[in-house]
Symmetry: C2
């Protein structure tokens, strides 16, 4: 499971409450995951039971008490161990490809419009990601290496999205230039 380690990692950077974790996770475009309450609070309780995190209750003048979680030495060890495990090939869930696969019944215009819509969606996403990267609010930089890593992590998403755009534009142009591809008949 990687939610556990994502949470552990965030806490290893700085102690946070469940509420703050949620905000960080759901606002990040790089690792995108809804960051819903259910999983966050459950994961925190689980991590605590395993002795990988502890919490301190912070009472505030205004508002309810916070449970601020931080990583224990065992948690650090677990994080290090996990970081050394053999990496997996990323999973891509691209429903648009499935859509295209069965788009045989569509007219040439419908298909073009579909591709344009995809282009727009991806472009929008790219803009949002670049905007967020520029602000750089959620990246730790305890060391030069860590700062560089976070830059490269962000770049991974950027190049991924640009690759999608290139691909979609090639598709678009070839459909235009090759009239024999214009119909599904």
């Amino acid at each position: 499971m990687s939610i556990k380690h994502a949470v552990l990692g965030l806490l290893s950077w700085q102690p946070l409450s469940g509420y703050d974790l949620k905000k960080r996770i759901s606002s990040s475009t790089a690792f995108y995951w809804s960051g819903n309450n259910n999983q966050i609070y459950k994961t925190l309780i689980q991590l605590q039971e395993e002795g990988l995190v502890t919490f301190e209750e912070h009472f505030q003048e205004k508002g309810p008490a916070k449970k601020v979680y931080s990583v224990t030495p065992q948690g650090q060890e677990e994080l290090r161990k996990w970081a050394l495990s053999t990496p997996q090939v990323p999973e891509v869930r691209n429903t648009f490809l499935i859509q295209l696969a069965w788009a045989n019944e569509l007219s040439g215009e419908e298909l073009n419009s579909l591709i344009d819509q995809y282009d727009e969606e991806v472009s929008m996403h790219l803009l949002m990601h670049e905007e967020q990267t520029r602000r750089g609010s959620d990246a730790p930089h305890r060391t030069a290496r860590e700062a560089y890593m976070w830059q490269m992590i962000s770049e991974n998403t950027t190049t991924f999205l640009k690759n999608e755009l290139n691909w979609a534009r090639k598709l678009r142009h070839e459909l235009k230039d090759r009239p024999e591809l214009n119909s599904g008949e």
Copy 2:
């Protein structure tokens, strides 16, 4: 949900049994999904209840009877409707990025080895995908356009994997060339 439509699409190409669907789905590197029994058989029953597919029982001399499913006109209509719905940005679940994010505790050598392992995994995956594409066993080509589409769908996965490799190699080389990034201390 897109499993429903993936199944519907496969059946619109040619009638298949649950067992054959499973084989096709799980062997495909482009839309990768385990294609487990539970979901396939459930989806087929559900599609049938919705009137989007029908089945014929094929008795064979050898082995058990097959339920061969095919798409109804309503199913075709549903598929067309879905194919026109606005496309979504693909979801990428890249655990390696999370691993890197919290790799601050790792030594330079450990980090390099991690990146090399990632390179290897992705390269292997790319080879498998190219091999499968070359065989081209699972692509329909009822029209020139459909054949071209399937080629581009496969290319999407290829360029994605190549993008990952480029990114990993850049990371690898910059870590090598910039000694200030060598440690997490």
